[in-house]
């Protein structure tokens, strides 16, 4: 037990060092790609609090990603002086939207929950698509001017890929720490007990709706963190951020990586971007190749790639131990 904890700490340390060193050894585009992976990683992790830990498959999570992106972009386009404050307001707007959507949605389960969240997500999409005077309609809000990030006397040029990488990395790490803390708390345990057996959890006196709503709002909050960062990263907010196809992305990444392991969504995001990057490198007919890779991954990794690998390793270790005995 002690050994495993030490191993984990070592692994975390190695990952941190890697994150810190990477931007100095790879090219500009790779820095941007990793930045995007971290943003989508935050998005997928936020989604998985709801899906993997609470057992609710949201198909409208892009709404919160997008609402935050739009609020952040709107503020920055109107010369809002502080980037961090714009991000914070965007994220709060996302959480607010999550309270409303969640209030209605968490009373449903399974596929009904999924379709209802899809419906709410598409309402938000329609709103930004049709409200031309405020959201720019189909054109979105483009050409954000980024204020420099001032912390104390230090002024950071956000538009440089390297400094933005580190800003996102900080958010990424904070998100991981907070979410880890949440899923390991008693609150997290209750969420998982609801996931496993709703009726039994209700019998023990747990207010299921309240817990689900809390999970929904936290999840929407972190989706908002990702959405705001994404708008800053791309210097725009576009309706495509809220479309159901955007909601499908964290689902894809999470299922690909593994919903029942904490880092599954992150591994899924890495895999997804890596596969896509490699495919589009040699062909522009990318869909057929992506499909041809996805299908066997789904079939042969019943618990996601990371999840299945971890179970397999555990089994092998147990088998070896039995052999030794």
């Amino acid at each position: 037990m002690n050994g495993s904890a030490r191993k984990k700490a070592l692994l975390a340390f190695a990952a941190l060092v890697l994150l810190g060193v990477l931007p100095f050894v790879v090219g500009t585009y790779s820095i941007m790609l990793i930045t995007e992976i971290m943003i989508m990683g935050i998005f997928a992790l936020s989604f998985n609090l709801l899906f993997g830990y609470t057992g609710l498959l949201s198909f409208g999570h892009a709404a919160f990603f997008g609402v935050s992106g739009y609020v952040t972009a709107f503020l920055l386009i109107h010369d809002f002086p502080s980037l961090l404050l714009a991000l914070l307001l965007g994220t709060l707007a996302a959480a607010l939207a999550a309270i409303v959507v969640g209030y209605f949605s968490v009373r449903l389960d399974e596929i009904y929950f999924a379709i209802l969240t899809l419906g709410f997500g598409m309402m938000f999409y329609t709103l930004v698509h049709q409200w031309r005077s405020v959201t720019g309609g189909s054109d979105g809000l483009t050409g954000l001017v980024l204020p420099s990030l001032g912390i104390g006397k230090l002024s950071i040029d956000v538009s440089s890929p390297k400094s933005f990488y580190f800003i996102v990395a900080v958010f990424f790490i904070i998100t991981i720490l907070v979410l880890l803390r949440i899923v390991r708390s008693s609150f997290g345990l209750i969420l998982m007990s609801i996931r496993e057996n709703k009726e039994r959890a209700a019998f023990t006196g747990i207010n299921i709706r309240a817990y689900r709503l809390a999970s929904f709002v936290i999840s929407g909050f972190f989706a908002g963190v990702a959405g705001g960062l994404f708008a800053v990263f791309d210097r725009m907010a576009s309706p495509s951020m809220l479309h159901w196809t955007a909601s499908a992305e964290p689902v894809l990444m999470t299922v690909l990586g593994g919903a029942h392991v904490f880092f599954g969504p992150v591994i899924g995001a890495i895999l997804f971007f890596f596969i896509e990057h490699v495919i589009t490198k040699f062909t522009d007919i990318w869909m057929i190749f992506l499909g041809a890779i996805l299908i066997p991954l789904v079939i042969f990794f019943p618990d996601g790639v990371l999840g299945t690998l971890m179970t397999r390793r555990k089994k092998m270790r147990e088998a070896r131990r039995e052999g030794e005995e």
Partner: protein, 286 residues
């Protein structure tokens, strides 16, 4: 008043097409427990096969018979090779897998038929228009309007009175029990999936004379079909019919009365229905 009536016809005929596509989706879900994301792509395949057969043989009726059969064969391959390993897993896996199938089919169509648009003419018999009051109305739309209930009734009779229909219903209620009384569940599942995709193919072939056939034409219809089967009640036959009619009608009347909101109307309706009847309008469960 007559505009109101016209849009009623528009809504119903649009609904009929949606019904044909959704019903395949709902049958597959009811029996196999799989929500098939690639269902819209199979509808698209039906339209492309129809186009291909018509351009080779100039026979629409032949295409209407043959194209859905070819689609069903594709469906058989998908079920037996890809879907079978993921039964019993979480619904998200099935969504992801069928999403992969969607990607492959969409690109395959583009590689085979190019990225341009194609059209199919209705058969000469149905190519005309009729005059209704002050308006002209295409005969082909009327044809779909009448064909829809006909197919619906045929399906209902099939499930109600034939042995196969009963077997399918039995398996959808209890898989293990069905296997226990000697139904080969594997064959049955393949059969049902092919049947569902056949219906998607019929929808595609019937839609071919109405729509520009082009890449990704199934992507929009799949979301609409999801809405139809969910508001109607998953697995429910009359529910799919009702859902399709409602969606068809709000599309038609939305264009007339609330043009700015048509994009959002189906979703608002979806939310209202799910929040008042969480299992859909005509669900057997409560």
């Amino acid at each position: 008043m007559s505009l109101f009536f016209m849009n009623f016809l528009n809504g119903i005929s649009l609904g009929m097409l949606l019904f044909l596509i959704s019903i395949g989706l709902t049958i597959i879900f009811g029996v196999l427990g799989v929500l098939n994301f690639a269902h819209g792509s199979l509808y698209m395949l039906g339209a492309y096969f129809c186009f291909q057969i018509v351009s080779l043989s100039h026979n629409f009726w032949g295409a209407l018979i043959l194209a859905p059969v070819v689609v069903a064969l594709v469906g058989g391959v998908i079920e037996s090779m890809l879907l079978r390993p993921v039964y019993g897993r979480d619904v998200s896996f099935q969504l992801l897998l069928t999403f992969g199938v969607l990607l492959v089919l969409d690109d395959a169509v583009r590689l085979i038929w190019g990225s341009g648009y194609h059209i199919v003419d209705p058969p000469p018999l149905l190519n005309g228009v009729v005059h209704l009051g002050g308006f002209t109305y295409p005969v082909y739309s009327l044809f779909i309007l009448f064909l829809g209930p006909f197919i619906g009734l045929g399906l209902w009779a099939f499930f109600r009175f034939t042995l196969w229909g009963k077997k399918i219903r039995a398996s959808s209620m209890d898989r293990e029990m069905a296997a226990g009384i000697g139904i080969n569940v594997n064959h049955l599942f393949t059969g049902v999936f092919m049947f569902g995709t056949w219906l998607a193919g019929v929808g595609g072939a019937l839609a071919a004379p109405l729509r520009a056939i082009g890449p990704s034409m199934g992507e929009k219809i799949i979301i609409e079909s999801f809405i139809v089967v969910v508001i109607g009640g998953l697995g429910s036959f009359p529910g799919a019919f009702l859902g399709a009619m409602i969606l068809g009608l709000i599309n038609a009347y939305g264009a007339q009365y609330l043009p700015k909101a048509t994009m959002a109307l189906p979703y608002i309706l979806l939310a209202i229905i799910l929040l008042t009847k969480p299992r859909g309008l005509l669900s057997k469960e409560t």
